[in-house]
Amino acid sequence: MIKINQRIDKNISGYIPDGISRRQFLKRLGGGVIVAVAISDFSDLEAAVLQEMPTDLNAFLRVSLDGRVTCFTGKIEMGQGVVTSLAQMIAEELDVQLENVDMVMGDTDLCPYDRGTWGSMTTRFFGPALRSAAAEARAVLIQMAAEKLKVPVTQLKVENGTVMDSNNPKSKITYAELTKGNKIVKTLSEKPELKDPSQFKVIGKSVKRMDGKIKVTGEAKFAGDIRLPGMVYASIFRPPSHESKLKSLDTTAIDHIEGLTLIRDNDLVAVLHEDPEYAQACLAKINAVYDTPDSTLNENTIFDHLLKMAPEGEMVAEGGNLGEGEGMAKKVLESEYHDGYYSHSPMEPHTALAVMEGDRMKIWASTQSPFGLKSEVAQVLGMSPDKVHVQPAFVGGGFGGKSNNRQGVEAARLAKLSGKPVMLVWTRREEFAYDALRPAAVIKIKSGVTSAGKIASWDYKVYFAGTRGASQFYDIPNHKTTVYNSGWRAREGVHPFATGAWRAPGNNTNTFARESHINFLAAEAGVDPLEFRLKNLKDERMIETLKAVADKFGWIPLKSPSGKGYGIACGTDAGAYVAHMAEVKVDRQTGHVQVLRVVCAQDMGLVINPQGATIQMEGCITMGLGYALSEEIKFTGGMMHTRNFDTYKIPRFSMLPDIQTVLVKSKDTNAQGGGEPAIICMGALIANAIYDATGARLFRMPMTPERVLEAIKKS
C-alpha cells in the first residue's frame, strides 16, 4: 500500500525538501485553486525498487483564473509520453477537457522537488497522487459552487469544467468563474474518492501525444536549441582513456586567438568560441602527453575479470533444499551466461547551456534529473542550491543515461569560470566514452528437471547485473538466488568506465539467462517450451499473459529445435507482466539473424493511455533488438574503441520485425510500469528462436553473426 498525503494550504513547505515553498509558489503563480500533493510511504516496495525510489514525490496543481489547469511537476518528458498520460489523469479527475491541461515539467524554480524520471515510476507512484490532487481540487471547486449556486454539493455535477445543478442545468458556473479574482486555498474535511474505472471518460482512452505537433515542425526546444546573446560553445579536452594520467599539456598554438577563450581549471581543459566547429578545430591543436597503462581487459576478457572481482554474494530468495531437488532431477543443467556493455545512445547527446545571471546559475540541460543536476552544480561550484535554477527542455531520449548529469556540471563550471553563457554539446565520441554504460555481467545457473517435466531445483547466481529481475517466479520447490553486487554500479576497479541504469536495468540480463535456461530445461524434458512454462507456473497473471501471447501468435506446440525458428520468453518488471513470442530466420552461412515477427502481451494493470502504452511496447521491442543482436561496445581497459554509429549498431529499419501487441485485461486496478517491461524478454526471446531454428545455443549477448556461426558449428 502506498499512502498518499495530500494537503491543501497547511504545512506544504514542511514536506517539500528542496523545491519551492508554498509561499514562494503562491507569490509566483498568483490566484486560483491550488493543491499540493506528495507521496511519502514506500515501505512495502521490494528492495530493488526502493533503491531507486525518490525520497519524496510531489506536484502542484493549479486551477487558474482562466479555468485552465496547470500541473507543476519535477518529472520530465523524454519521449515516453508522460506529458500526455499525466494530463489525462488530471483531466479525468477534474472533469475538464484534456486540451485545457498544461504541464510544466522539470523547472526547479517552479516545480517541487523530484528525484528523477526513471524506474517506470511516473505513472505507477506519481500517478495516483496526482489523481488524488485533481480529485481534491474538484471537490474544492464543487464546494465553492454549492455556496454560489445555493445548491447542496450532492446535487451538483461537473462537465468540462462547468459545475451545474443536476436538477436545473441552467443553474451553473464554470471553474474560471469560481476562481476569478480569488486566491483560494481550502482544506477539505474528508479525502475525496477517486473515480471508479466504470466512470472513466479520459483514462483508458487512446490519446495522441500532446507534443506531437511541435516535434514535427522543429519548434520543440531541446537544451541545445536554446540560444542566448553572447553564447559560446565549449569543447572539452579529453584523455585517450579513463586510466590516462596527464604528463604535459602545451596550448601555445591557440593561446592568442581572438574570440577564443582557453579554460584550464584543475582537470578541466576547454576552449570556448561562438563557432562550435572552430572550438573543436582549436582543441585539436593542443598537444598533450599522457601516461596510459597497458590493459588486457577487453570485451572478451571482461567476464573472467568480473568473476575475480565479485564481492560476497547476497542471498535474495531461497526455498526448499537444492541438494534434494538435484537428487530428484532426471537431468541437472549447468550454464553460464554473459552479457556485454551497452551504450544508451540517445539521438540527442548530453547537452547543457549554463549562464551566471547575477549571483544565480541558470541551466538548461538534457537530464532525467533536474533536481539532481541542481544539487550537483551547487555542490561542485560551492553555491547555495537556491542559487541554481534548472530550466525545462525536451529531452531527446534518456533510457537511464541522462540521470548522469556530468555535462551539466561541466557547462556550469565553464560558465562560472568564463562569465559567459556556455553551451556544451557532447560529441558522439564523448557520448560513448562518458555514458554510464549498462554493465557487463555474468550469470550462472544450475538447475534440475524431473522426468515429469517439473523444475526440481534452481540455483541462480548473478554477478554485476543487479537484483532487478533476478528472483524467478516459477513454481520451483528448491531454489536459491544469490546476487553478487546488487546495483548497476560497482566499486572501483571492476568496470573500466562508468556504469549505470539502462532501460529496465538488470532485468534484460537476468531475463536473458533465466528464460534461455528455462528453454534448455524444456528441451531436456522433451516438452514444448510454452507447455513447460505453464506446467511450472502457479502465478495466474503470468499464465494469463502467456496464454494471451500464444493466442495472438498462433503458437503450435513444438519440440525445440523444430526448425521453425519460434522463440518464447516471459518476465516481470516494474509491476507489469510481459510475455513475448517471435519467429526468426537464421542464415546458416553468415550467422545473420532476421527477426520476422514479434508478438508481445503485457499486463500492466490500469492503462491510462492505451495508445501510449502500445507505443512504449513497440519501442521496447524495437530497441531490444539491438542489445540482443548487434550493439557491442569494444574497448581496451578504459580506452573506448566504439565511437560512433558505424561500429555501434543500434536497430534500424532493416531489422524491424512485424510487431503485434496485446494489452491484457488486468484485474489490477493500479497502473504499473509501461516504459520498460516489454524490453526485458528480447534477448532470451531471440536466443530461444535461434535455438529452435538451428539447435545452436547462445550464451552471450549481443548475438552477433560471428557468435551465431560459432554456436551453429558447436551444435
Binding site: 529531452v395 531527446g396 529499419f653
Partner: protein, 158 residues
C-alpha cells in the same frame, strides 16, 4: 579565405559571409537560428541533421556550407507552407510516429526525399529508403505507417 555566398533558405534569399570552413549544420543552427536541424553524430551516420538541398535530402553535418551557394535549402522549419503542415508532418503527428522527437525533423526530410523519387512506395521500399536514418526510441513501425499515409495523401504530387 573569406567567402560570400548567396542561397535560398526556406524560400527566402540569403547572404552569408564565411570566414573559415564551416558545415551547413552549424551555419543553420547558429547564424540562422534554425535549430530544428539536429546534431546527432557529426559524421553522417544518423541523419538527424538531414536538410533538403535543391529538394534532395543531404546530411548537413557533412556538407560544406560554401557548397550551397546558388542553391535552395529547406529545413524542417520551411517545409510547411502558409502556416500549414506539410502532409508528411501531418502524417507523422497523426500516427504518433515519434517519441522523443529528436530524429523527427531529419526523418521527415528523408521521407520527403524518398517520396520525391518514388511517390508510391510499398512498405519494403519505405524501409529501404529510411535505412540510414536512426531512431533510438523505436518509432520505426509508426514512421513507416506515417510515410505510407503521407504517400496516399500526396497523390497528385504536392
Amino acid at each position: 579565405m573569406k567567402e560570400t555566398i548567396h542561397f535560398e533558405l526556406n524560400h527566402q534569399a540569403r547572404e552569408l559571409v564565411l570566414e573559415r570552413d564551416r558545415t551547413l549544420l552549424w551555419v543553420l543552427r547558429t547564424d540562422f537560428g534554425l535549430t530544428g536541424t539536429k546534431f546527432g553524430c557529426g559524421l553522417g551516420y544518423c541523419g538527424a541533421c538531414t536538410v533538403l538541398i535543391d529538394n534532395k535530402p543531404v546530411r548537413s553535418c557533412m556538407t560544406d556550407a560554401s557548397l550551397v551557394d546558388g542553391k535552395k535549402v529547406i529545413t524542417i522549419e520551411g517545409l510547411g507552407a502558409n502556416g500549414k503542415l506539410h502532409p508528411i508532418q501531418e502524417a507523422f503527428a497523426k500516427n504518433d510516429a515519434l517519441q522523443c522527437g529528436y530524429c523527427t525533423p531529419g526523418m521527415i526530410l528523408a521521407a520527403y526525399g524518398l517520396l520525391s523519387d518514388n511517390p508510391t512506395p510499398d512498405r519494403r521500399e519505405i524501409r529501404e529508403g529510411l535505412e540510414e536514418n536512426l531512431c533510438r526510441c523505436g518509432a520505426h513501425k509508426r514512421i513507416i505507417d506515417a510515410v505510407e499515409m503521407a504517400a496516399a495523401d500526396m497523390k497528385g504530387g504536392k
